[in-house]
């Protein structure tokens, strides 16, 4: 039973196993590049022949050139720095709040009774719907954007960490008791490491939603950052700049996801070696 409980989250989360399998098929990997390249070529041809007007979508070559220009002019690096800073601050605040509340709720019944009902109620709120209120409360500066990111981040981390703590195998807690671990040591050696895999799942979810929250917040109102760059480009029908902005958003999203995966590989070696067998 204990093995089953430990195994279940491992199997529902496909990344580590999938990666291993992909590595075992090196020969045919290039075939997966054919269809995207064909699509890109078709897009370029459609743009060049005028089939696809620039005011709807710029040509790939134009987009690439624009990207280079934006980097050289410093517009893009500045915009990325501003957006990255918002995400970082918002994420940190949200992560501290989410994990902190999960610890309070997960480690004691009283904490659960105090925290969990409120979190479950707030979870039901569509947080993008809070934007009007946030603007009324915090104006149109940095605060509402950062707070929206923080709010979005805190829920996946709270829910997953809480579930992770509660999902720790009770049989291991009994072992801790028979070897004489106190409550603090039980939390340190058994509960927190046991909750870590689930917390990392929450971390990936929350980083994904952090970028989403940022994009929404920046669309509504911004005078700097990637969202501002995109909105500004819309005014001038610069579809090339809009696409560059979108590509940067996705690149940043992929990058943070890769960071979490790296963290997972380091933190969960005990599980990885088992899966790799």
């Amino acid at each position: 039973m204990s093995v089953l409980e430990l195994d279940t989250p491992v199997r529902t989360e496909p990344q580590p196993g999938a990666r291993i399998r992909r590595r075992r098929l090196p020969g045919r990997a290039w075939q997966r590049w054919i269809s995207p390249l064909v699509l890109l070529l078709a897009w370029q041809i459609a743009s060049t022949t005028g089939l696809l007007p620039t005011r709807l979508l710029a040509a790939p070559s134009t987009i690439a050139a624009t990207a280079v220009d934006l980097v050289q002019a410093g517009t893009l690096p500045t915009a990325i720095a501003v957006s990255l800073q918002r995400v970082l601050i918002g994420f940190t605040a949200g992560a501290v709040a989410g994990v902190g509340l999960a610890l309070v709720a997960g480690l004691s019944r009283r904490g659960e009774n105090a925290v969990d009902p409120i979190m479950q109620m707030l979870r039901a709120l569509p947080f993008f719907g809070l934007i009007p209120l946030f603007i009324l409360w915090f104006g149109i500066g940095e605060a509402p954007k950062v707070l929206l990111v923080a709010l979005a981040v805190s829920f996946p981390l709270y829910l997953n960490t809480f579930a992770g703590i509660r999902g720790v195998d009770g049989k291991l807690a009994e072992v801790a008791r028979t070897v004489g671990l106190g409550r603090a040591q039980l939390i340190r050696h058994i509960v927190l490491p046991g909750a870590l895999p689930q917390t990392l799942v929450g971390l990936r979810q929350s980083l994904g939603v952090a970028w989403l929250a940022l994009i929404v917040a920046e669309q509504v109102n911004a005078n700097a950052g990637l969202g501002y760059m995109i909105n500004d480009a819309r005014e001038f029908l610069r579809t090339d700049v809009i696409v560059v902005g979108l590509l940067v958003y996705s690149a940043l999203g992929l990058l943070t996801d890769a960071l979490v995966r790296l963290l997972e590989r380091r933190a969960l070696t005990w599980r990885r070696e088992f899966l790799a067998r």
Binding site: S2, E174, V175, R177, G180, Q185, L196, R271
Partner: protein
Amino acid sequence: MATRVPGALTRTAAPAVAAVEALTRGFGERTVLDRLDLEITRGEFIALLGRSGSGKSTLLRALAGLDDEAEGGLSVTGSVAVAFQEPRLVPWKRVHANVTLGLAVPDAKEKADAALAEVGLTERAGAWPLTLSGGEAQRASLARALVRDPDLLLLDEPFSALDALTRITIHQLVLDLWSVHRPAVLLVTHDVDEALLLADRVLVLDQGRIAHESAVPAPRPRHRDHPDLTSLRRTLLAALGVSPEGTT
């Protein structure tokens, strides 16, 4: 705690490592332990037999200090260690760290090395528990119990999940460890042969009380076909309410 010997049990005056008196434990309507009396002498090897649901594991959990709801007298002098049916290794701690878990002595590392050497797991000290075989994991679990120099070692069917060949080697290992360290052992099992092979004294638990007790006088190493054991086996099986295998 008084060293009163209850019922028909007669015992030498060796000091008791654990004494259970009128221990009662119910789950809802069901009484699992019913005013149970038991005394465990220092260094003796007891096997506790019983059908499933007879309260074997409940008694062991009470002795392990894992049951806060049992009523009655229970006293244990000295340290207790437990090896469970499933090895219950902490999966995110390497084998060596599992052995030293909660071990608050200055030379914990050396003691763990020694314990792992004794169970033949020195080479796997740095391995993750999920990569161990069933036998290796159970050895690690034994090392984790042993390293605490227990006065009372509680074994909760630790062999039942092992394959037959591994079980034979682990039986021998437990006997070797017991003869070196001499803890009192309470082995919970449902395997009569295992009980006869290992224990000094075999108890049969039924209806929440000790319904039968047999001393096993045969010298070790014992062979399954020893004539004394054959008759004892029949007695124990009868006490368990099973007619002996085959006709004799």
